[in-house]
Amino acid sequence: MRTRLLVIGCSICLQWVPAAFAAERTLSVTIYADDLALVQDRRDVELKGGRQRLEFQDVSAQIRPETVSLTAADISIVEQNFDFDLLTPAKLMEKAVGQEVTIVRVNPASGAETREQALVLATNGGVVLKIGQRIEVLRDDGLPVRVIFDKVPDNLRARPTLSVTVIGGRSGSRQATLSYLTPGLGWKADYVALYNESDGKIDVQGWVTLSNSSGVTYDNAQTLLVAGSPAQADAGARPANVYRAQPRPSLQQPGTESGSRERLGDYYLYPLAERTTIANLQTKQVSFLDVHGVPAEHGYEYRNAWLGTSETPQSAKSIYSFSTGAHAGLGDQLPAGILRFYMRDKRGDPQFIGESRIDHTPMGSTLSLATGDAFDVKVHAVVEKRTRLSTFDWQSDMRYDLTNALPRPVTVKLLQQGLWGDSRIKAESLKSTRRSAETAEWAVTVPANGKASLTASFETRF
């Protein structure tokens, strides 16, 4: 008997659902890399026939209401509303202005309750009530008074709510699909690279990192990740032709190989193998890449700005480069993200040695990533002399002192930037290669525990 009652209880709690929706629901979420997601929410709606308001409370709190579309057989949409007037005590009182509420005075000494009907006159800075013919300020005397409202005003809700007014042809249950765009859901890739110093190889694992700050949980959602950033109209266009210091390019050679991954136009797709629950405020990681023994090169690099001169030696950057190609490489295209490098210490434990951001990288590319500054390899660049040759001609004599406190020789790629216009090198102690008109490059070998020097003389218009 008891069991039976419980079963009935359970069936009641399953049947009572908000806005006449059954619990049957299929979610699919497509997440773009740039904090944007397309949510498709398929569920059964119960239609009464005729004009009807459908409410969706469990949608993203950051929903872009203008992108909402509801599709179902045999309905037409009258209007869509996104209500964000939230139910708070203050709003509740504000909306009760001109209406009657019940107040319950509690006698602090006896605990006896006195009930009265009151008309709310105003809520500006304090609640003014009219009780019978008396005007009172609520709780002006500090004594306990409960205020009881009869109902919650229609458009006040605990959470922002999407509502769609529809006209349904016939009554009954049918499947509807609600789709909308929302920010607050995003993903990026995170890579773990373990560099093996003895044989110069790296093991790379790639993880997709999903984050959800959209305010709701997506239960049991089929998830598809799109590598690429579709243009968003209001995404804030960057002014063109604005000079910004170029960050060190990590992509040395863009690749030309095609992988086996699914594509959407020019974007790569990463479907998650299983349905997953993306909880609110959760960070979730799913593996997508695991490659071992990829050859990698380790080197040093120092970039000197035009007329860059320093009082103390500066560390060279520690650089790791490797290929993403099928041959002797990672053999995959890499979605944008952060690559973290690890290396084993003397005891064999992996230790973090720095990280670098990569952009969407096609397969077959050569990446060269800076992990940090080398403690023992330093460059001291100094402008030795600036001479004015004529009104439009300057000569700049540069000296670069390189030191190496490591017990092995190193080669430092030294770049002098800022050779604009028809700048030329008049003299140099080591042959340079011109990487571009603006940048001269030297490969300087510094002996173990030793020094090397390089001088160069530039003729420029500035």
Binding site: L6, V7, I12, L14, P89, A279, T309, R347, I353, D373
Partner: protein, 552 residues
């Protein structure tokens, strides 16, 4: 299923008691769905903490109130996995965890996903989870202590105010002046401590040892050097501590501890901050009284606390310097090479407690030969400028000078012995110094040694300035503007001092004539001279530079 029906039964009773429709959707779904089994990993059996310095800080010590560095934490834990799909929970990870950096090794092949929930169990989180769900309202009569229990439903917790519904009608929490609170029926499925979970599938029950490693914020370290000068000021003893600090609320007992010197690249990681939650604010409708004007500040303040930027919240939890205690350990760290970085290993296992700073001996060297020099920077064109000289301590980081070891950046305090007592002379920052580099420690300004700069003449006539000898190698060709600068250096000390006068010239400028030998350092002219005890020295030099006609 039995547990589920029990829960439903409880809900049922509530419904009957309140005569309300209870929204049992979530519960129903929870009971129906084949949820993965929850298993907690054992407490860590071994821990390793590697602390990295704040990226971008080239020199100087740590700030206990704002620990900008990070650490790599490696935990070894034993897990007992039943067969099936399991949500394996690693409880008690550092609150500053960067979830994207987490690596789990040693699990059977089927790791499906890794999760970190930023939401922690808190009163506000409880309320948020209870919206639309039945709760029990508890009212206490202040006089009699009598409890009144009422079944109700939370309607909203928006913007810090709580609205609920009982059989009597709709009310707001704690607006009546009566002691009111809720009793919740479930703990909202939230973790109490920061937790990382891994969804894993295993075909048979098994026990495994797994390694979890991740980067966490709220750590930092620096080297703190103490240099003690000998009585004659010709040598110094140098000792140093590694000072490391953990600002996290989680401690690491008995951990292998390392610090890494050298600057590693960090991308500005967008870490989802922890939502540490907050109290139930229970904001009410406007409370005004006839005797005092309402201050809108109260509401604004409460609003500000509620809507406080997560980042700050997070920072507060980390930085709340709940009296960081200091611990000093006196065995030296061992240094090894880690790629292009230097790794220092604390010899024994040690406990890196929460909100603690700890010191471990880095090095001790004695009898390091040092020299002192006074120096001043002058710019040509400065007229009638007076400046105290800076005193610099110099040595070289090599074996001949009893050093020759990597010196990680930090702060150095220089002490001198004065009548048997050690007195602090100056404290300054030093950067990372590799073996073989010059060491220069700024000892502060010396008011006893002053340099005054005066421009004697500005001339374009060459003949007038020919009284000074020409600097060897200078050929006069296109010099247009000549300035004769006079620098007087006075010394109020009872000893002669070596002095370096560094000259800053206009673009394209050169020193043409000078009454002292001219050198260059870092591309700039420098005069090295000795200023006699209680005396002064004068340097006069003539400099020339082209004036840009286009801009005249």
């Amino acid at each position: 299923m039995r547990a589920a029906s029990k829960r439903c039964g409880f809900a049922m009773r509530l419904i009957l008691a309140a005569g309300l429709p209870a929204s049992g959707v979530a519960w129903g779904a929870a009971a129906m769905a084949a949820n993965p089994q929850d298993t907690s990993a054992d407490k860590p059996s071994a821990l390793a903490v590697t602390v990295y310095r704040a990226p971008g800080r080239e020199a100087g010590s740590i700030d206990l109130d704002d620990l900008g560095g990070f650490a790599l934490i490696t935990e070894t834990r034993t897990v007992h996995l039943p067969a099936g799909t399991i949500r394996l929970r690693f409880e008690g990870v550092a609150d500053g965890i960067e979830p994207a950096s987490a690596i789990v090794t040693g699990l059977p092949a089927g790791v499906i996903e890794k999760n970190r929930d930023a939401k922690l169990l808190s009163p506000a989180a409880l309320i948020a989870a209870a919206v639309g769900k039945p709760v029990t309202l508890l009212r206490t009569d202040k006089k009699s202590g009598k409890l009144q229990r009422l079944a109700g439903t939370v309607l909203s917790d928006a913007e810090g105010g709580v609205v609920f519904k009982t059989s009597e009608g709709i009310e707001a929490l704690r607006c009546s002046g009566l002691p009111e609170t809720f009793i919740f029926t479930g703990a909202a499925d939230l973790a109490a401590t920061p937790t990382l979970s891994v969804l894993v599938r295993s075909s048979t029950p098994m026990t495994r040892t797994v390694t979890l490693s991740y980067l966490a914020r709220g750590f930092d370290w620096a080297a703190d050097y103490v240099a003690t000068l000998s009585a004659d000021g010709k040598t110094a003893d140098l000792g140093a501590w590694v000072t490391l600090a953990n600002g996290n609320g989680v401690g690491f007992p008995d951990a292998h501890t390392q610090v890494v010197a050298g600057s590693v690249n960090r991308e500005s990681g967008e870490v989802e901050p922890l939502d540490v939650g907050g109290p139930i604010l229970a904001q009410c409708w406007p409370r005004g009284s006839t005797s005092d004007q309402p201050t809108p500040m109260v509401m604004q303040l409460a609003g500000a606390t509620r809507g406080m930027n997560m980042d700050r919240m997070y920072k507060m939890t980390l930085a709340a310097p709940a009296a960081l205690e200091e611990v000093v350990v006196a065995r030296r760290v061992q240094q090894e090479q880690l790629g292009d970085l230097k790794l220092y290993r604390v010899p024994d296992r040690t406990t890196v407690a929460s909100r603690q700073s700890k010191q471990v001996r880095l090095m001790d060297r004695s009898g390091i030969p040092v020299t002192f020099v006074y120096g001043v920077d002058v710019a040509v064109g400065d007229d009638d400028a007076k400046e105290p000289a800076r005193r610099l301590l110099r040595t070289k980081n090599d074996a001949a000078n009893h050093l020759g070891l990597p010196l990680p950046s930090g702060r150095v305090a220089v002490f001198a012995v004065q009548q048997g007592e050690r007195l602090l002379q100056h404290e300054s920052d030093i950067r990372d110094l590799a073996v073989g580099e010059e060491v220069e420690v700024d000892m502060g300004e010396s008011p006893d040694v002053q340099a005054s700069v005066r421009t004697e003449t500005v001339d374009i006539d060459q003949r007038k300035v020919r009284e000074l000898p020409l600097v060897p190698g200078v050929i006069l060709r296109s010099v247009q503007i000549d300035e004769l600068t006079r620098v007087e250096v006075s010394n109020a000390r009872a000893v002669a001092i070596p002095f370096e006068l560094r000259v800053r010239l206009p673009e394209g400028g050169r020193v043409l004539r000078a009454d002292h030998p001219l050198g260059t350092k870092n591309g700039r002219p420098i005069f090295r001279l000795t200023v006699p005890a209680n005396g002064s020295a004068t340097v006069r030099f003539q400099s020339g530079h082209n004036e840009d006609k286009l801009h005249r």
